[in-house]
């Protein structure tokens, strides 16, 4: 899909894919909602929705093409499963908090899962949302952090070193679980065990470009599209998995 469209952002899609697939296939129930905050992982979300039968193969083929509803980042009024246009970072968590608060006020069931990147925590708005979620004890919100360690123009530790994001989230009052973000059983177990009395964050250690050896942990795969040769190599590697 990314190859055919000549689109980049593949690295941050592959790091999030196991989280997205496990969450949608094994964890989420009817009343639950999902908010993508790292909008550049739109491709991984579209593929996940396709795997659930919510997007047709032909729709998926329109990705990044003229007239598509599947933009490089989710668009407004695109498809019902993706309620918000996101892409500018630091919006999803506040939106998820609002949805959860709305459920609370209306007495409606269900959780709101929100997937964030690690570089995204450079944005101050996330810390505002975190304070809000912790203060209002919005237990319906579940944060998933794709901790791949790389952002747009450097390693997260070198751009604005956060130290331990898990510790910071704990300090803000969240219950934090740390997992290997490519161990689907661990992800499932961590998300299925209900939190005690606080909102929960799943901090998932992931590998940017996961599953494709020449992409793994390489900064350039935040942006670069694949050549035909690289695509062929990646497909062969994936088939061997």
């Amino acid at each position: 899909m990314h190859f055919e469209s000549g689109v980049g952002h593949i690295g941050g899609n592959l790091s999030a894919l196991d989280l997205l697939l496990t969450l949608h296939h094994r964890v989420m129930a009817g009343d639950d909602q999902f908010i993508l905050s790292k909008g550049h992982a739109a491709g991984a979300l579209y593929v996940t929705l396709w795997s659930l039968g919510l997007l047709a193969e032909e729709q998926l083929a329109t990705f990044h093409k003229d007239g598509t509803k599947l933009g490089g980042h989710p668009v407004p009024h695109g498809i019902p499963e993706i309620p918000f246009a996101v892409g500018s970072l630091g919006h999803g968590l506040g939106l998820a908090a609002g949805l959860a608060l709305g459920k609370n006020l209306r007495g409606q069931p269900g959780r709101v899962f929100c997937l964030l990147s690690d570089g995204e925590w450079n944005e101050g708005s996330n810390w505002e949302s975190l304070m809000f979620i912790a203060h209002h004890r919005l237990r319906e919100v579940v944060l998933l952090v794709d901790l791949n360690g790389l952002q747009g123009f450097g390693a997260t530790a070198e751009v604005a070193n956060l130290g331990s994001l898990a510790n910071k989230l704990k300090e803000f009052g969240l219950e934090v679980r740390e997992v290997d973000g490519h161990n689907t059983d661990a992800i499932e177990q961590a998300l299925k065990t209900p939190p005690t009395d606080r909102p929960m964050a799943l901090v998932a250690r992931t590998i940017k470009g996961h599953g494709v050896s020449f992409m793994e942990n390489k900064l350039e795969w935040h942006y670069l599209p694949m050549t035909a040769e690289q695509y062929q190599m990646a497909v062969e590697e994936a088939n061997r998995l």
Binding site: H91, G94, L95, A97, G102, R106, S125, S129
Partner: protein, 303 residues
């Protein structure tokens, strides 16, 4: 206008889709609403970006949130959240900016809102309501609730002259008739200009229109207004907002597009801080030629 807004919202606070967020402001004003709205009155803290995103989430969950702050802390600080989260999705989020124009006076330029509606009107789906008088507020609230789409309510201080009976709220209202120039005023400035103009002899007295809703819809520009400025020959627009994105530029554009232009056009607008000094709202208006005395001088120079 805050007091009457509070009173108005109290009457809606028990509705199932009501929710109100404030950015830690409203001391000595919003307390009655907090009492009635209970858990639906949320002090979101000094965190406007999150507050607007939360409001968009609430609106998506089926509520109709009100979001309150001092105007610039809302439209300027949280501009991207208003743009992406609220306007792109056409959500019924009602933003209330207190202190339109120079209303916060000597509190300083950080608290002024002189480019608010210009900044916001570039966004999709958003409508701006600018009550001129406190009596307008309940109807402005009704109007934006009925539209159920993104809205910005610009509040100021009521300057209604004594004994003036405010006509029902509408995008365009004629509040004074005379044989002088045709003047369009945006917002509470209308009160002071009305008080000064209504005592003039009829030959010099302007016809005064109040414009309260933006963007201007060309088809809704009243024929009587067009007749007024065609007869007087001089159209004056007065607003406490910078020229860029202001109502004067929008009206000039609308009239050019509809090919009904006045012979003479004058625009009085907020000029920022020409002396570099700060003072009361009256001080800033005087610096910009927006005060009633300046407008009277302009009217007396009208042939």
């Amino acid at each position: 206008m805050r007091t009457i807004l509070t009173r108005t919202l109290v009457s809606y606070a028990r509705e199932s889709d009501f929710v109100f967020l404030t950015g830690d402001l409203g001391f000595m004003a919003l307390e009655p609403l907090r009492e009635v709205a209970k858990e639906r009155f949320i002090n979101a803290g000094i965190a406007e970006q999150n507050m607007v995103s939360v409001a968009a989430g609430l609106a998506t969950a089926g509520l109709r949130p009100w979001v309150y702050s001092i105007a610039p802390f809302l439209y300027a600080r949280a501009f991207e959240q208003i743009r992406n989260d609220v306007c792109l999705h056409n959500l019924p989020v009602f933003l209330v900016g207190n202190g339109g124009g120079y209303a916060y006076g000597v509190m300083g330029p950080t608290h002024h809102a002189i480019e608010d509606y210009g900044a916001l009107l570039g966004l999709p789906n958003l409508t701006v309501q600018i009550p001129a008088f406190a009596a307008d507020v309940p109807q402005a609230v009704l109007r934006l609730m009925a539209a159920a789409r993104p809205a910005y309510l610009r509040l100021g201080r009521d300057e209604k002259p004594e004994n003036f009976v405010v006509p029902p709220y509408a995008p365009w209202r004629r509040i004074l008739s005379g044989q002088g120039a045709t003047v369009v005023v945006v917002g509470p400035l209308a009160g002071g200009i009305l008080a000064a103009a209504q005592v003039l002899p009829e030959s010099q007295r302007p016809t005064l229109w109040v414009l309260s809703e933006l963007p201007i819809v060309n088809a809704e520009i009243p024929a009587t207004f067009i007749a007024d400025f065609q007869q007087s020959g001089h159209l004056i627009v007065v607003e406490e907002h910078v020229v860029q994105g202001g109502a004067g530029a929008a009206l000039a554009h609308a009239l050019l597009c509809t090919q009904t232009t006045p012979r003479r056009f004058t625009h009085r607008f907020a000029r920022g801080y020409p002396s570099g000094r700060t003072g009361s709202q009256v001080f800033h208006r005087e610096e910009c030629g927006l005060d009633p005395a300046s407008i009277l001088r302009l009217l007396s120079n009208t042939p």
